[in-house]
């Protein structure tokens, strides 16, 4: 919202600068995004260069058909010659003039110039050039009266500093200049003036017929009738206010309703009373199939949940959102029905979202407007109708449901101090609350004003009121507790260990989205209405996402790609919520051995050894895939990515981090090391040989293959595998004879089980 400060200062007597006001508001009230200057800049005497002028001569420019050559009295004794492009005035007109040296609202500095051979020492201004409105069809012709030379700023606001603020949803009361003035008054200990507006005289007692069929949707409806309305442009001060607040002036009646909305926060609507069937207002839900053409020119189909303002025959406005074209106030309008009502927020929000139709009014209603505001809003608007459109007030109806009673909340001032960590005297707490228009009783029983009823219902809410005003004074402390111990859990430590192990093994960490286009599991959880196809399914596996990450890197020419990710997968298991597992997955250039090396690194980082069995996986080569107790490792199927890639995915939850590893003496008794080579049938697995050997000989501590050979010397269908083996006893140094006996045992077992032959 835009908050023009001159306007604000009409309601609160505060001397502080725009920066000071913005600073205090942004700490204690709402975010102030920036301060902007609207209209003519007020610096270095600039305002004084804008004056009232009287045209004393006007005629065609001798060298240009479209230009007028004028002499204008600006109170200097001698008149100035000014060239002007507009023709909507003549001799005697009172106009707005900027003198050479003036800085225009668009930032340009006006200079003495020659236009088609004639000097021009000044500029006759249009509304748009003054940022008073959008009209640029001619220059601004002022009402007669003020003397030439009078500073323009004495007639209407030439410019203003405007705060652009962002309010939170709990504070609909801040969506008004008066509401912000109230805050400023509290923050600067300044006087808040009474709410503006006083009723004009009522000159007749016309009946105003208003029926509210849906009191819940519309707890308050004040309808006021006016006659002898003369529609026309608003006075300049009113235009200036609206434009500085970001609204376009339209006509005096419409501008008055908008002015009151901005000033007080309660949106109003003006109907052409003569266009209402039977002159009646009925507030009701729409009937299915009803339609309305709204002020923006669009036909809107209504449904039974939409609240409408109707006359005897048809909807004439979508309540709280937008009026209808049929009952619009036009230049011919002479009789006006003013609506100052209150609408329930949720229904307005629903209709506004359904129709994708938002307005200044709906934005306020959907946040909740104080029902008690309808009355002062009607009052101020009536005053403006009378003053700006010559309207006569001739009748009123006020329909209200049960308006909420004001809440009473007990405040314990010591509780405030205890919660804030700042000693605030009870008297100061009272002052703050009273300045925010809370009524505070002797015993600090606090009656909440109706414009804060949605937000302040409990003691803690009152404490917040004090706290936000005192926020900058609250010190920086730390909790007093000393017995606090922070430590990562085993799972958290495991995650870090694995991350570090993989980084050490040259893998870089990837983050890929948990929502994917498709998943291997048909029962994977789906988002019912995904916003885009690639965020439709909660993945049950990480690998496909890593394949895409690798593909990206390959496509941009990155080399040596090795990526891993640790993230959740979401496994449906019949319950209300899926089982969430923490997985670690990786992808790496270089095929099966690289991937298996990474898995061994992970398991090795927590002193585990895996056992590997043949397995299968959608993405992996059927001959080069292994499963372990923790997951799968293999080579990517050819064709998925160019070249040879290894991949793995393990369930981190299945890996246990042991807290109590025991020392094993590998130093006192040295091992005996030997190299053994066996010839075996081609389909025998190295792992099976080692497993059988270990089972047969407890002193066998290591059996690591280091060479595989196929060829003539071993014969068809066979291969030779060379192992480095170590025999070691924890109790003594083994003799060569003992080692030989153990070796023979291994040879026998492997021969028996696998047809293995020891090669010399």
């Amino acid at each position: 919202m835009r908050v023009p400060l001159q306007w604000l200062r009409e309601y609160v007597d505060v001397q502080a600068s725009a920066e000071e006001i913005a600073g205090r508001l942004s700490v204690s009230t709402c975010e102030v995004e920036r301060i902007v200057r609207h209209g003519v800049a007020d610096a270095d005497g600039n305002l004084g260069l804008y004056r009232v002028g009287r045209v004393v001569e006007a005629g065609k420019h001798p060298n240009a058909d479209r230009l007028q050559l004028c002499r204008v009295d600006v109170g200097e004794g001698e008149s100035r010659q000014i060239v002007c492009g507009a023709w909507n005035f003549g001799v005697g007109a009172t106009v707005a003039v900027a003198l050479p040296g003036a800085v225009l609202p668009d930032g340009q500095r006006l200079e003495e110039v020659k236009l088609r051979g004639e000097s021009s020492s000044g500029m006759i201004l249009s509304e748009r050039e003054l940022e008073l409105g959008t009209d640029n069809s001619g220059i601004l012709v002022l009402a007669d009266g003020p003397d030439p030379g009078t500073p323009l700023v004495e007639l209407f606001p030439l410019g203003d500093e405007v705060l652009e603020i962002e309010t939170t949803p709990n504070r609909p009361d801040l969506l008004s200049i008066y509401g912000l003035a109230r805050e400023v008054a509290a923050l600067f200990r300044a006087d808040l003036r009474p709410m503006p507006g006083s009723d004009p005289a009522r000159t007749a007692e016309d009946e105003v017929s208003i029926r509210v069929e849906d009191v819940e949707g519309c707890p308050r409806y004040v309808g006021r009738a006016f006659s002898e309305v003369r529609i026309g442009p608003s006075p300049l001060w009113l235009k200036a206010r609206l434009v500085s607040a970001g609204m376009r002036p339209i006509s005096n009646v419409v501008d008055a309703t908008n002015f009151v909305m901005l000033a007080l926060g309660s949106p109003l609507h003006a109907f052409d009373r003569l266009k209402l069937a039977e002159g009646r207002i009925v507030v009701r839900r729409a009937t299915p199939g009803e339609e309305i053409r709204t002020l923006d020119g669009n036909a809107r189909a209504l449904d039974a949940s939409d609240l409408v303002i109707a006359d005897a025959a048809r909807p004439i406005a979508i309540a709280g959102i937008m009026g209808g074209e049929d009952s619009e106030v036009t230049e011919e309008t002479a009789s006006v029905l003013l609506e100052a009502a209150n609408f329930e927020p949720v229904g307005i929000l629903r209709t506004s979202e359904r129709l994708s139709l938002r307005s200044e009014a709906s934005g306020r209603w959907e946040k909740g407007v104080d029902p008690h505001l309808a009355e002062p809003a009607a009052r101020l608007c009536s005053q403006l109708f009378a003053e700006t459109a010559g309207a006569r007030w001739i009748g009123e109806a006020d329909v209200k449901g049960d308006l909420p009673a004001r809440q009473v909340v007990q405040l314990r001032p010591e509780r405030t101090s205890a919660l804030l960590g700042l000693e605030v005297e009870a008297g100061e707490q009272r002052r703050i609350l009273e300045s925010l228009e809370f009524d505070v009783g002797d015993d600090l029983r606090v009656t909440v004003p109706t414009f804060r009823s949605g937000d302040v219902t409990r003691e803690i809410d009152l404490i917040e009121e004090v706290g936000r005003v005192k926020l900058d004074e609250i010190p920086f402390t730390l909790p007093e507790r000393r017995e606090m111990f922070g430590r990562l859990t085993r799972e958290q430590r495991l995650r870090r260990i694995v991350e570090d192990a993989l980084v050490g093994a040259s893998f870089s960490e990837a983050y890929t989205p948990s929502l994917v286009t498709e998943d291997v599991r048909a029962d994977a959880l789906r988002i019912p209405q995904p916003q885009s196809f690639d965020q439709a399914v909660l993945r049950t596996t990480l690998l496909p996402s890593l394949v895409e990450a690798a593909r990206h890197n390959v496509s941009v020419g990155n080399e040596g790609v090795a990526l891993f990710e640790i993230a959740r997968v979401y496994l449906p298991d019949g319950g209300e919520l899926p089982r969430e597992e923490q997985h670690v997955a990786g992808i790496v250039e270089g095929g099966f051995p690289r991937a298996k090396g990474a898995v061994e690194t992970i398991l090795g980082s927590v002193q585990l050894q895996g056992s590997y069995r043949r397995g299968s996986h959608d993405l992996l080569h059927p001959g080069k895939t292994a499963v372990t107790d923790h997951g799968v490792v293999g080579e990517l199927r050819p064709g998925i990515l160019e070249g040879s890639w290894g991949a793995f995915e393990l369930d981190l939850g299945s890996i246990e981090l042991s807290d109590h590893l025991r020392y094993e003496d590998l130093i006192t008794f040295p091992p005996i090391k030997q190299d053994l080579a066996f010839s075996v049938p081609d389909d025998v697995l190295v792992g099976d040989l080692a497993e059988a050997a270990h089972a047969a000989v407890p002193e066998l501590r290591k059996m690591v293959p280091f060479d595989v050979y196929r060829g003539e010397q071993v014969g068809d269908g066979r291969k030779s595998i060379a192992f480095r083996v170590e025999f070691r006893s924890p109790e003594r140094t083994l003799t060569d004879e003992e080692a030989a006996a153990q070796r023979d045992k291994i040879v026998n077992v492997l021969k028996l089980e696998f047809g293995a032959e020891l090669r010399s």
Binding site: I474, P513, Y570
Partner: protein, 331 residues
């Protein structure tokens, strides 16, 4: 003969030798079989003379050995320096990967809070609306409860929009005092752009204890901001609104790029918005069975991406999900 005089002369000669060969000459001259000293030793008769001669011999031998070592070292250096390598040539590559930037920030935040005595708790990413909304005092009609903002799997099951449900679970599972942080993935139906991504990471902290104050919250966040952004940083707080805290505040850190003088990053205000915080709403405490008259609490929830992007000058949040090695390897 005068043993001392011979020794003195020999030491000078040894010291003067500028090569191993010269030294050898000197050694032969003073210690060789035909040397004056050796001859004198052969002829010695009395103990006193013998001791004096032996002492002189020892001194000369030591000097020769020392000089020998020095000359050999110098000669080796001379020959080694001829095998010079190009020391500006890159070393042998020791391939090493990189932790993702978000992980690095996550660990840093975890460590800061571990240091302050907090525990790190994990939570589910798929939650019930009960824990995500009801427990957090989120009224019906709150925008976050709309499927336009939140991923619903069905009416009751949602992807968490913040990590707070983990805190509710933690509070339900134990009694105060509680000092915890939870970090992890959160989900909101944002359209991806330079500063939004439907998946993001949050760190939320929660403390519940007797006598905790808004001042404690301010102090805790000031520590966090200084540890993350530098000890010279200042913190500022502004009132705000969240359903689950009362009072609610928003934290700002003095701009670490311009030091408060105004720049593009801080939008010329000198302050950078970091995230929300507040005193735990009594309704939230009551929801988990705590008595708000007995204990109070504070909480905050900040985005890890935002911290990382601010600190490292990353312009586009989407880059964090691209996993391009050219980015990953920078951190």
């Amino acid at each position: 003969m005068d043993a001392d005089a011979v020794a003195a002369e020999a030491l000078v000669a040894v010291e003067a030798a500028s090569s191993v060969a010269e030294l050898d000459e000197a050694r032969v001259r003073y210690l060789g079989r035909k040397s004056e000293l050796k001859q004198a030793l052969r002829e010695v008769r009395d103990r006193e003379t013998g001791m004096a001669l032996n002492s002189a011999r020892r001194r000369i031998e030591e000097a020769v050995a020392a000089r020998q070592a020095g000359l050999e070292r110098a000669e080796l250096d001379r020959s080694l320096s001829e095998e010079r390598t190009d020391i500006t040539f890159p070393g042998e590559a020791q391939p090493r990967g990189h932790l993702h930037l978000i992980t690095q920030v996550r660990r840093e935040v975890e460590d800061i809070f571990l240091g302050m005595g907090y525990e790190v708790v994990e939570g589910r990413e798929v939650e019930t609306s009960h824990y995500l909304f009801d427990a957090l005092n989120m009224p019906a009609g709150h925008p976050t409860r709309s499927p336009l903002h939140t991923f619903f799997l069905d009416d009751d099951v949602v992807l968490r929009t913040e990590t707070s449900p983990a805190q509710i679970h933690a509070m339900e599972a134990r009694k105060p005092p509680i000092y915890i942080v939870s970090l992890g993935r959160c989900y909101r139906r944002d359209t991806a752009d330079a500063t939004h991504y439907p998946i993001f990471h949050q760190v939320e902290g929660l403390a519940v204890d007797r006598g905790l104050t808004l001042a404690d919250l301010k102090g805790t966040l000031l520590r966090l901001l200084r540890l993350l952004f530098g000890e010279e940083r200042e913190a500022r707080f502004a009132t705000h609104f969240f359903p689950f805290t009362e009072p609610s505040i928003e934290a700002y850190v003095s701009c670490f790029l311009c030091d408060g003088t105004g720049c593009r990053v801080c939008r010329h205000s000198g302050w950078i918005e970091i995230g929300g915080a507040g005193m735990v709403d009594p309704n939230v405490l009551r929801f988990v069975g705590y008595d708000p008259e007995e204990v109070t609490g504070f909480a905050f929830g900040w985005g890890l991406e935002r911290m990382a992007m601010l600190r490292h000058g990353l312009p586009d949040i989407r880059a964090l999900w691209e996993n391009d090695l050219r980015l990953l390897e920078q951190f």
